[in-house]
Amino acid sequence: MAEAPARPADELDLQAANGSPARIGRPVLRYGGADRTTGAQRFVADLSFPGASQVALVTIPVGCAEIVGVDSSQARRVPGVLDVVTAAELPSPMPRFGPSHQDRPVLAAGGVNFHGEPVAAVVAETTDAAQAAARLMRVDFRELPGVYTLDAALAPGAHLVHDPSIRPGDPRAERNVLEDALYTWGDVAEAQAHTDVVVEHDYTFPMVTHFPIEPGGTVVVPTEQGGLDVYSPVQHPYLLQRTIASVIGLPLNQVRVFAPDPGGAFGGKQNPKLEPLMAFIALRMRRACRLVLSLEETFHAMRRAGCRIRARTGFTRDGELTFHEVHADYQIGAYADVAPRVMAKGSYVAAGPYRIPAVRIAARAVMTNTTPSTAFRGFGSPQVAWATESQLDAGARLLGLDGLEIRRRNLVARGEAFVRGASAARADGEWRESLEKAAELVGWGEPLAPNRGRGIAVGIKPGATSGLSQSLVRLLCDGSAIVYAGTSDMGQGARTLWQQIVAEELGTPIDRVSVISGDTGTVPFDLQTSASRSTVFMGSAVLEACRDVRRRVLELYAETTGVPAEELDEAPGALITPDGRLSLPEAAREALGTLRGEFIGQGTRRLRGKGDHPLGGDAAFYEFNATAIEVEVDRETGELLLTKHVSVSDVGTELNALQVVSQDEGAAIMGLGHSQMEQLLLDEHGRIRNLGALDYRIPTFNDVPLELVTAAVENHDGPGPYGSKGISEGALLCTAGALGAAVAQATGVVIRDLPLTPERVWAALRDAEARSRADAELRSAP
């Protein structure tokens, strides 16, 4: 962890950054940061709801079963128990919901489709009583032959995860394939004629869970007006509002979502899960109902889709890609959630940021009786990047090229298409710069110590393809300002950026800008906090709201002072008058006069999709990252020691250098999680065997590479404010590919299944040695 040479120390020096006038790009201190260090920050489980009843969930220990009966008699006798809610207490047919398919029941109805799916909820005066009663619930069930793997789900005659009746009109309803995607361009058969080398391999990427340190929870409070206040640390409060309104049958104004800052989300807290159940329970109880999840319950609520990829790739002898065929099966779980979109959007970039004349990508979202997968940092891209980046290295090894050179020869230049055809996508950055910088920072080409290897890889991820963010900015009479922006601040530091933008545009010192978020009752609409979109979308909306304020200041200043509006002009932080430049807060004060009052600016950033685009529209931007890793392998135990890890992201413009570093380092290490140690392991009943913190391993302080270096390429070419782009996912897109290549170089053995656990590396080395012994015997045989 040596100081990153790529970032001069003074770039991250905070001296005076906060007190000074706005400085876009400066490492401004995090909004709300102090409360997060003292424990004063209130996460959902920290909020006090006097008189609330407590809810505990009831589950059964298998992944697929028909529920024969539920006996709550013992549970009801526990002192303090108020009610037991089963499917019988909820509307029939059971209401279902979901962001794309309305397939997720409010509570398991008739059967359980994954381990951990709640079949009942106990409501009690205390958490102790609720949990004690939940353990006394007797659920009779008949285990069904659930499908827990891709092979099982795709086998002829496989158990159907969804009864076809909940997929009416779907021609695929008799299969476990929920959706598929096909992207093709060029002529693969023709391209093979110009191909010198073909590599074909299978790759797997594990199911992994988000493991937010805040497990989270939900509190629903019925209001006197017959509405509901819903407290949940969600990334998309407005989607939750709409979901609750629709499931319960309330107008939007009667559902008010309070979204306390998520204590880590990473995509897992985007879509409604248990909130509709809690809404029904609160309505039934006519009092506040509170559910706080355990970490184990989050394992049952969110995960990343596992993936199996077969890839076949052609190269010329010069290392130029001629064709690339990918078949990717995403194991999405028991309900759709947003997983079909993960499959479609991830596989869209399965050919990587390369110039390939002929490509065929076929992907499927395959249902299994497992935790519903959802959005997770990278959104389907890391899975296919693992395969495609490994294929590049496989080709390079055959051709005698190195990992850097083969990427140099194929990486697209700015404006060049890496997805061709009707829905083409073109490079929107100087991506080569990131690749070269990563190579330079890792010391590519320098001599390697024994048992060490280096790998380099690149990754891309499409940003949002449509979207809407609305914002209000109030400039108050004393020059302070309040921003209303619905982005959830889940650790990325969104509010800090809004402060910076307001400070830059209105000339208000950063510490006099406050931000209101997390309340659909007071804050205007924002579609979502996901896809690293907020800097671009909400940032633009806040920027526009500030400019709206400036125009209004100019108009009122003209009216108040009598200076003709034509003789006035406005600029960032200033009003230009015939007598000179006035600071905007000063001009605002003069304009408002003795009645005081305030200016209210409104900003909207809307990106309409394209109906005929397979993703529903062109991505607003692409995240591009180059990662290079140097690893030392213990050949006897299979243990990896990462001696150096370099991540370079194409960021457009760094609005806050410190936050960019935090996001990049965090994503890089999270990428090491799925590359090195993380995987959900299931038993034959579909139960998660490593359920919880004791046996599901995520990176710790001691797993951080000895040297972790991040750097940013800034060409001010993004669509966001001041040329910015989203940056929060890049550093984990291709971690696996870089690590895999490094291990391959260090050991001479290629591993195509993640994670690269010590045992997996050891087994690969053992198998390779056995093969070479067998080969030697064969050769020496008479």
Partner: protein, 165 residues
């Protein structure tokens, strides 16, 4: 507790952040739950609740412990310092350095990190990078601000030694 006969209650008298507190809790109540639910001290966080994540780290008689692995009853007659106790006179130098280093992201693990780091620095004013990593390796951060946190601890150590300013 109003669980009405579900559990016998145990009276526990302890000192929390310098104040004497008496609570009546069932025997199985952890110190973490008692701090959060009975005493309103929600700075210590609940994640794994089995000693793996460090989000609930507090000082018990001056030693860093996982509050989720201590029964409240065990703390009878003992002294507990939570993150709130460390912050009673405003931000400490350590907390300031967490902010300066960009170590605070979602923030959920940070109170535990701050307590563990404070404990380290009290026992070892000049920890090496390796010692910092080892001392904090029981505190998980899923935002993975690990390198930033190490910087914050180093900066605090330097500040306390008077190396700067």
């Amino acid at each position: 507790m109003s669980a009405g006969g579900l559990h016998d209650l145990q009276t526990v008298a302890l000192t929390v952040n310098g104040s004497e507190r008496t609570v009546a809790v069932p025997a199985h109540r952890t110190l973490l739950d008692a701090l959060r639910d009975e005493m309103g001290l929600t700075g210590s966080k609940t994640c794994c609740a089995e000693g793996e994540c460090g989000a609930c780290t507090v000082l018990l008689d001056g030693r860093a412990v996982n509050a989720c692995l201590v029964l409240c009853a065990e703390a009878d007659g003992h002294e507990v310092t939570t993150v709130e106790g460390l912050s009673e006179r405003g931000l400490t130098d350590l907390q300031e350095e967490f902010l300066n280093a960009g170590a605070v992201q979602c923030g959920f693990c940070i109170p535990g990190q701050v307590v563990s780091a404070e404990y380290l620095l009290r026992g070892n004013p000049s920890p090496s990078e390796e010692q910092i990593r080892e001392a904090l390796s029981g505190n998980l951060c899923r935002c993975a601000g690990y390198q930033r946190i190490v910087r914050a601890v180093q900066a605090t150590a330097a500040r306390r030694r008077g190396d700067r300013g």
